[in-house]
Symmetry: C2
Subunit: 293 residues, 2 copies
């Protein structure tokens, strides 16, 4: 997976050129770093094909607009660059990340309106948010004390790199024997985890948070798969108690699709085994990858 | 101020080497970028001398600890690198920024505990948060609708790059004819602006927020200068109404010291001129730069 540089293999588009991922760098003065003033999206490629690229590009372009930034390429140009990263990398399974940062001001002003926005893209090897053993048995997720950054501060529908709350939550989880984490909002309701949305299933109905979360594309796909399987989905408030009392729990992420959670704060969910609905959804999710649509 | 590269002059320490600031870059895979999982501090050099370097190093090392990261150098090593950046740059007035990012995991895991933390430092030309004309007349600050990221989500005493709320606030301000912005917390009380703390003066007493703000070193210096001038300082809750009804307002920042605010949401504070206490504090602040302590 790695070249000699200690970086994963892959191809990046930076400063208008394609180059090995190991050489993809940004200036430490870029406000994408110094202010985390950036948005991004990640789409996966499976068996050589993008999965729902249009949706990811739609969301990315909407995020760019909400941050009042300007992409230096149009939609076709964007798709071309992403395709080129994949084809140059030669990988059949990969993630492709597209990023727009605020960049820097050529006049060294502190005004974001003066900045020249900086577009970056790269293809890197596909990696799972859970390893194979975890996907078989389901993981133990901790509900952290740290709260997810609220919508009043940062718009979560703009996919962003403000992760210090999630990282603090990950450390809380490790300290308490967990493998990953889910954060609540300031009212104590379930939001999301590091890179995934979460669903609770009870009495045959699935539920996931409507507010304070990324409008995940795999979350949306899972909702559609539920419809296909005639499972109702409630998109609304999910309390911490509802999560603890669920019949089964799964998470959704571009980094692995639909995956089981079998413990919350160390306590088994029902029999502590991945639930049947999670299994059916996972199967259907991967079947969709062979669907030309 | 700039070399041919379009970057400001300056010297950076990156990957264990000193180099021109224009060449200071980090991998796009560094979690300091992809998760904004990083902390930093900025100290200024005036007339060739660091101003309160010890305090900045103290805060930086405390922040590193709170994020459970490890500096690859000890305190003396840190001071040496910062000094070397300054002396190599040849600049008499500069900012010196020290940064520790989470780095990347050599195993490509997603676990922050597996990461090799990445230390960066650089000296760049001193720049003011306000230009000279603004410092003479005082600026117009808008109280934004966007709320500062709360302490329940991200610890504001760990100096961090989570600025999307501040950037959104800056755009709100520009839209409403303002020059900068201050954010309130979720309860509507005043917190801080992009890179500065804010003080309201009323009936000879100064007040600034205690919670949800960076424990600014210039804020602390201003508090000490107030004591020297026998001005009481209330560190507690500052309501938006208290700010609007102040006799005078000033901000504090490493990027310029103590500076006047003369309008809030376009409305003049008293006669719309910088206040006398602000003037006295500013004078005393700069006088301290000639003090060997």
């Amino acid at each position: 997976m790695a070249d000699d540089s200690g970086y994963p293999e892959g191809v990046a588009y930076v400063d208008g050129d394609f180059r090995p991922l190991s050489e993809a760098k940004i200036s430490v003065l870029d406000w994408g770093f110094l202010r985390s003033d950036a948005t991004y999206d990640v789409v996966h490629v499976w068996d050589g094909k993008f999965f729902r690229l249009d949706r990811h590009m739609d969301r990315f372009m909407a995020s760019v607009e909400k941050l009042r930034m300007t992409l230096p390429v149009d939609r076709d140009g964007l798709a071309n660059i992403l395709n080129e990263c994949v084809s140059r990398s030669g990988m059949r399974e990969s993630y492709v990340e597209m990023i727009l940062t605020r960049g820097r001001s050529p006049t060294f002003s502190r005004d974001p309106r003066d900045a020249v926005n900086n577009f970056i893209a790269f293809a890197m090897p596909f990696g799972w948010v859970m390893n194979e053993e975890q996907r078989q048995r389901g993981i133990n997720i901790v509900i952290a004390e740290t709260r997810r950054i609220p919508v009043e501060s940062v718009d979560p529908t703009v996919k962003n790199y403000h992760w210090l709350d999630l990282v603090a939550g990950m450390f809380e989880s490790y300290d308490r024997g967990g493998e990953s984490v889910v954060l609540t909002d300031l009212a104590g309701n379930i939001t999301e985890g590091p890179g995934f949305n979460i669903f609770a299933v009870k009495d045959g109905r699935a539920a996931t948070a409507d507010r304070g979360v990324l409008q995940g594309i795999t979350r949306q796909t899972a909702t559609e798969l539920c419809e296909e399987l005639q499972i109702s989905v409630d998109i609304g408030t999910v309390t911490a108690d509802a999560l603890r009392g669920a019949d089964e729990i799964f998470i959704t992420s571009t980094a692995g699709g639909i995956m089981p959670v079998t413990r919350i704060d160390g306590e088994a969910i029902r029999d502590g085994k991945p639930g049947p609905m999670t299994g059916r959804l996972t199967e259907l999710y991967w079947a969709k990858h062979d669907d030309p649509a």
